[in-house]
Amino acid sequence: MKPAQNQIKLFTPATIALLLVIIYGAFTVMKKFTMGDIHTNLSDDFPWGIWIGFNVLGGVATAGGGFVIASAVYLLNMKKYKSIARPAILTAFIGYLLAASSIFLDLGHPFRIWHPVVMWQIQSVMFIVAIHVVLYTSVLALESSPMLLEKLKLEGLKNIVEKMMVGIALFGTLLSVLHQSSLGAVYLIVPYKLHTLWYSSTLPFSFLVSAVMMGLCMVSFLIILSSRFFKSPLNMDILTGLARGTLVTMAVYLALKTYILLSGPGLSAAFAGSMESRMYLLEMLAGVVIPLVLLLLPAVRNNLAGILLVDMLVICGVIINRLNVSIFGMLRQAEEMGVKYSPHQNEIVVSLFMIAVGALLYKLAVKYFNVLSYEDV
C-alpha cells in the first residue's frame, strides 16, 4: 500500500495561513534581540503573563499524551495503541520544544538558560522544572528518533533505540509525572496571592491528573484532525479507548477538584458571582462536568463527532484552568497593588506564532516521516 503521506500537499490554504502568522510573529520575536525587549504588559506586580500561563503551562499540559501513550504501549503492553504512539510522542515533543522556546523568550537572560543545569538549587521548584524540561525534551527527542533514523536508513541505530524503548519510556514517564506536577508546585509559593478557589497544597496532583486528561484528548483530537487533513486511517476502536481513559481520569479529577473546593474555600465561593467564581465555573463546566456527562453516554463515546466535541471541551477547559491559576486567580492581588494585566498585542502575537509553528512542524513531520501510517512493530 502506498503511504498516505505522499498525497499530502505542501501548500494548502491552511498552511499558507499558518505561514503568514509565523512571518508576522517572527518580526515580533526578533524584537527581543534587535530592539532589546518585546514590549509586554507585564510589570513588577504582575511578572508572569500569557507566555507562562498559556504557552508554557498550557503547552506542557498538551504534551501529557506523550507519556500516557508511551507508558500504555511500552509498559502496559497495550498493543492497540502502538499505532498512535508516534503521533502522541511527536505532539509531546513539539509541545515541549515550543514551551522551551516560550521560556527562552520570557527570560530576562535567555542565553543563561543553561544556568540551572549547573547551578543546582534544590530548594527551588523552578530548578526542578528547569531540569525536567531539559531531561524530558531529550527523552522525547530519543523517543521520536526512530522516525528520523529510518528515514536516514540507519536501521542498526534504530534497532538499538527501539530495544531500549521500554527503559526510555519508563524514564520519560517518571520525568513527566514529576514535571507536570512540579508546574503545579510552582504556584505553592503564592498562598496569599493566588485566589483560594485554586490555591491548594494538592496543586501538583491536580496539574498531573488534568494533564493526563488533556493529553488523552489532545491525542484523540489530533488523530481526528489528521484523518480529516492528511487522510490517515482512522481507528474508531482506539478513539473509544482513549475516550474511556479520559472518562476515568476525569472522574478522578472531578473528585479531586470537589475535595479541593469543599476542604478549602467552600461551595459558596464557586457561586460568589465574582470574576474568579465565574472563571472557575467556566473551567469546571466546560472542561469537566459537561464532557463527563457526555462521555457517560455510549452514543457519544462511540461517535466521532461526539468524541471530537468532548476533546475540544476538555482541551479548552484545561487551558482555562492553567490561565485561571496563572492569571485570573492572580489579578485580584495585583489590583490591590494598583496594577491591572491583560495581554499586550505582542504577547498574543507571540502566542499565536508558537501555535502556528507547532502546527506547521506537525504537518511537516507527518509529510516527511512515517508518523501516522506506522503499523508494524
Binding site: 502496559l76 503492553n77 530576562g108 543563561r112 521548584v125 530548578f127 519508563l170 514529576l178 509559593i189 496569599y192
Partner: protein, 259 residues
Amino acid sequence: MEASFLIDMTKCIGCRGCQVACKQWNGNKTDQTTVGTKFTNPVKLNAKTYTNIDFFELEKDGKLTWDFARNGCFHCKKPACVSACPVSALTKTKEGSVIYNAERCIGCRYCMLGCPFNIPKSEWGKMFPKIHKCTFCHDRLVDNKVPSCAKTCPSGAILFMDGIDKNLKEARRRVTDNPGSYFNHIYGEKEAGGTSVLLLSSVPLDQIGYQKVGDAVIPDLTWKYIGGIPAVIGLVLAAGIGSWVITRRNKNMDKEDKS
C-alpha cells in the same frame, strides 16, 4: 551579625531622608515624580527605588491624621525569593541580608512572584534586565556600619540592632509602655515565618498599605513537594517496572497458549 531593624512609624516625620540616603548609597538614579492624590513619590518601589515613604491621610477620632508607611524589603528569616531562585542568585547572608548576584540570574522572575511583600523589581524594557531590591546595605554591614537609611533617619524611626530578638524585645516594651499609642501588632514578628525587619504603627497596618501576610514559612510550602520527590520516583519506577513485568508475563502466557 544578625542585622535587624525596628521601624517605628509613630516616630516617622515623613522627611524621606531614608529614600534619599538609600538612592545615594546605592547609586540609584532619580525617578520622574508624579502629582497625584497622595504625597508619596515615587509612587511605588521599582528597580531604582528600594525604599519609599508612603503617605496616608486618615481619620482618627474625627480628626485628620497623617500616617506614614515605609516600604522596603523585610529580609525574611526564611525568604521565599531565595527558595524560589533556581540558580542561587538570591541568598540570605550570615549578616541577615537578602542579596542578589546578577551574574547568576537567568531572569525568570520567580522571586518576584514568590515574594509575599512584592519586593524584587525588574528593569522592564532592558535587553538583559537585572533584579533590584534593598540589600540591607550589605556592603555597609560587612564593614560594621549601620545601613544608610537608619544612619540618616533624623527622628530615630529606624532602629538598627545586632539581633532580631533585641529589637523584638524593644518593640514589645514600646507597645506595653505606651498604651494607646500603638496598634498592637508587630509586623514582621510572625509574617512569612518572621522577618529581620520589624515594624510598629499607630494605626491598623492594612490601613497604611501593608499586605496581610500569613505566618507560614513559604519555602516550607514548596519543600513539601520537593521533599516528596524521592518517594514519587520510587513509586513510579515500582509501578512502571511492575506493570511491565506483569503485562510481559501475560503476553508470554498468551504465546504459550497459542503454540
